[in-house]
Amino acid sequence: MSENNSVLMEVKNINLRFGGVVAIQNVSFDIYEGEIRAIIGPNGAGKSSMLNVINGFYHPQEGEVWFNGEKRPSMEPYQIAKTGIARTFQNIALFKGMTTIENVMTGRQLKMNKNFFWQMLRYGPAIEEEVEHRRRCEEIIDFLEINHIRKTPVGALPYGLQKRVELARALAMDPKILLLDEPMAGMNVEEKQDMSRFIIDVNEEFGTTIALIEHDMAVVMDLADRVVVLDYGKLLADGTPTEVQSNQAVIDAYLGVPH
């Protein structure tokens, strides 16, 4: 986490409704450059919706998203992705029939901008470009230690490795901010430890800002620099892990209150 705490992203007074259902109600928080920011909360608290707002998949009825010091106009998700926001999904969303390297290469798609004609022929400038992007992808593959499955179709991989491939694909975009939707869901202790290590490594080595949703409190408390707690679409608490942990409202939301 950087010391000067410059704000990379800020969401202000977000309201998101689906018909009569209020998913997010007047939520504001910010994300510092270089930090690991966790979003936690019970089921249905609006965590994934929040990520979808940040990466532009949902357009909130009210509220603003500030990124890099500018207010973000309404954009399509792919345009937002180009500005440097990458994500992984709660349910893995990889191309199952494609190999690991092919999947990771799709993460570079938005950065490939040579003439369609050359790309079609796979010749000249298109080859140079592919080589350059392949190098970056190989670095990421090496970083996440998935070299041995480079050419394995991802559909045939175990769950924990698929999650890692998805992380690799998101990293291939060289994002400024990386959104991880339950990166450790369904993993055993050892896989969780591995994943935590990779998240910390990504944060430290690449300096990538990370916002993650996670249910395993032990993991969150270990990884996160700051934590946002949502409950029924409202902001319940915001602060360092220790602050949040001792917050009565949070304890009530998780453990329930006697009626």
């Binding site: 190989e138 670095e139 090496d142 041995h148 480079r150 490594d201 080595e205």
Partner: protein, 653 residues
């Protein structure tokens, strides 16, 4: 190479010979970022020289010990050689050793520096750094994850070799001065034995010994600078040192480093080595994999495979050994080569293999013949750390699975009165480091070294045959011979049995512990609809017990035919609830069972086997990979087996 071998008695000299003779041919390759990166001999020489200069700048003195820990990478091989060049003694360590094993060795050799592969090793060393007093600096190759570490005594590899590169001449002068002092008698490496009994011993080897033994071996198998090999076995193991450093350097061959432990098989396939070394378990595993795939293939493919494999079994070996074979059989074999053997070898990555070695353990005749019948020149050799490995090897015309070959050039063999194999060799070790007592016990004043193995030289062929570890061979209560390893090997030849430990010295009957092979038995369980969640559950399955009982009885039947061994028949056995693990100290890192340790640790189980109860509960301490300890509880059933009477009465024993 033999004509000028006397002048080439140190590794720095061999290296400069390689630069002048094969300067532009590939010396090292490593797959990185999915691509094979190559260094020629002259490029490698530059890397080594720069690193050596950098080490001098770091403060490495002559005679200092420098530990090298990590997976097989060119950088670490260069580190070994750079250490030699500055007059320091390189000490390769097993990269999967736990922290306190490392502490023992680092303290024992009072290592001052360590060059390591990655964060994992840095963590381990820093954990023990306080206790290992003399350890000053750590150099690491892969910077991943180390960004936030305190860098006061931690240096990136590239900084060190970079400092050597940008040297203004002073370091070069110092290096030249030190190089001049290196002779054939200078220590080239300190290798720690795996230690089947007690703590491991440090074996001091000189330049002359390593180069002498390597040249002898290279001569027999005609190594050249066109040879390629893949290094994947632990760098701390003497075998890897001899092959990847000794033989490669002496021959000027090319060493290929895989991308990582998980990619070895794929990388071997891409590399197509000409020389390949694998311990018996590896050959076993490859064959098991082939069998599993064939089981799943279509009936036609299965049929073709069976047909041609049977044919290969009939004539393959004769063709490989250039014996006379009928024209029709030859024709069929070449068709087989086209449709089965060729593709199969290609899949195994063994298409270009000229010579394949197996050593370290006995190999079953069936397994040995399988590879040889495919046209792969698999050979046995025999040796040990103290001898710079090579003692006996097999000539191409005289290869067998039950013997280990004749002594190579520079080696004399004799059998002591006790039956122990003794040798005198150019590759003999100088001494055990800081252990003159053990040195004296092993090596007599005429230079004869005791191997600790019992064996004899076959009169008809002149080849050496190894029976067992000399100290393990004992007597049973009735006086008949007890040779545990002989029986264990017979058991381990079954693909379903991974490990076996036999007990019975001084007893009336023999009993055994077994470890099932999880991949082979697991596959069998899958095909037979047997559910299991863990090793423990599969090991206690009744059908698995039944299967093991069958295997044990087959071995008993086999033993009954041999009058000297019939006393070793197994009366009762059990399947252990956990796999024997080097982290728990039950087997060595090179997978040799530490018999007395196992007997002590599982004393309750051994007693139960001899007492004759049907079931026993036990609690075992286990060490996890990160060094934490835990307990495993289990109830184990003990199985009685059928034993057989001696078939033909004879007094030959």
């Amino acid at each position: 190479m033999s004509e000028n071998s006397s002048s080439l008695d140190t590794f720095p000299k061999v290296l400069s010979r390689n630069v002048s003779q094969f300067g532009n041919s590939p010396a090292y390759r490593e797959k990185e970022y999915g691509i094979w990166q190559t260094w020629t001999w002259s490029e490698a020489n530059d890397e080594i020289t720069n690193l050596a200069k950098g080490l001098i700048k770091l403060g490495v003195k002559e005679g200092d010990h420098l530990a090298v820990i990590g997976r097989n990478r060119p950088y670490l091989y260069w580190s070994l050689m750079a250490a030699q060049q500055v007059g320091a003694v390189p000490v390769p360590l097993y990269q999967d050793a736990v922290a306190d094993e490392m502490e023992y060795i680092l303290t024992h050799c009072s290592a001052k520096y360590a060059i390591v592969g990655d964060q994992e090793q840095v963590d381990k060393i820093q954990e023990i750094q306080e206790k290992v007093k003399g350890l000053k600096d750590i150099v690491y190759v892969d910077p991943k994850g180390l960004r936030k570490y305190d860098k006061s005594s931690l240096h990136p590899f590239l900084d060190i070799s970079g400092a050597g590169k940008s040297d203004d001449g002073e370091l070069k002068e110092e290096l030249d001065k030190r190089l001049e002092k290196i002779t054939g008698e200078t220590t080239a490496v300190l290798l720690y034995t795996s230690g089947t009994t007690g703590r491991s011993k440090g074996v001091v080897q000189t330049h002359k010994a390593i180069i002498g033994a390597s040249s002898g071996a290279n001569e027999l198998d005609r190594w050249s600078s066109n040879d390629h090999l893949v290094c994947y076995l632990p760098m701390a193991w003497v075998g890897d040192f001899m092959i990847s450093v000794g033989q490669v350097m002496v021959a000027g061959a090319c060493l290929n480093c895989p991308e990582g432990a998980d990619t070895v098989q794929m990388d071997v396939k891409e590399m197509g080595p000409t020389v390949f070394f694998g311990p018996p378990p590896l050959w076993e595993r490859l064959k098991t994999e082939v069998n599993i795939r064939i089981e799943d293939a279509s009936a036609f493919k299965k049929g073709a495979f069976q047909y041609f494999m049977n044919h290969a079994e009939k004539v393959g070996r004769q063709i490989l050994e250039k014996k006379s074979v009928g024209i029709i059989d030859r024709l069929m074999y070449s068709i087989g080569g086209f449709v089965i053997y060729g593709p199969l070898k290609n899949m195994l990555g063994l298409t270009n293999v000229r010579i394949a070695y197996t050593a370290g353990e006995a190999i079953s005749a069936e397994l040995f013949d399988f590879y040889r019948s495919l046209g792969i020149n698999l050979k046995q050799l025999y040796g040990q750390t103290e001898a710079s490995v090579f003692l006996t090897m097999q000539d191409d015309s005289d290869v067998r699975s039950d013997t280990v070959g004749k002594p190579i050039r520079g080696v004399e063999l004799k059998i002591a009165e006790t039956g122990e194999v003794m040798y005198r060799s150019i590759g003999s070790f100088k001494e055990y480091y800081k252990n003159p007592k053990a040195t004296k016990e092993t090596k007599d004043k005429d230079g004869w070294v005791a191997t600790g193995d019992a064996g004899y030289i076959e009169e008809t062929s002149g080849q050496l045959r190894i029976i067992d570890r000399a100290k393990d061979v004992g007597k049973m209560k009735d006086g008949s011979m007890f040779a545990p390893k002989y029986v264990e090997n017979k058991l381990k030849f079954f693909p379903n049995i991974l490990e076996a430990v036999l007990f019975g010295a001084g007893q009336e009957k023999c009993v055994a512990f077994l470890n099932i092979d999880l991949s082979a038995v697991g596959n069998w369980a899958e095909r037979n609809n047997i559910n299991y969640a863990s090793y423990q559950e599969l090991a206690s399955n009744e059908k698995v017990m039944e299967m093991m009982k069958g295997h044990v009885e087959e071995v008993n039947q086999d033993l009954a035919k041999d009058p000297t061994m019939s006393g070793c028949q197994i009366h009762r056995f059990l399947i252990l609830h956990k796999e024997l693990d080097p982290d728990d100290g039950e087997i060595t890192r090179t997978r040799k069972v530490r018999r007395s340790f196992v007997a002590e640790k599982y004393d309750d189980l051994v007693t139960a086997l001899f007492k004759g109860v049907d079931e026993v509960s036990t609690k075992t301490e286990v060490t996890y990979e990160d060094g934490k300890k835990g307990y495993l509880e289990a109830t184990i059933s003990l199985v009685d087996t059928q034993t057989y009477m001696l078939k033909e009465k004879s007094d030959a024993a």
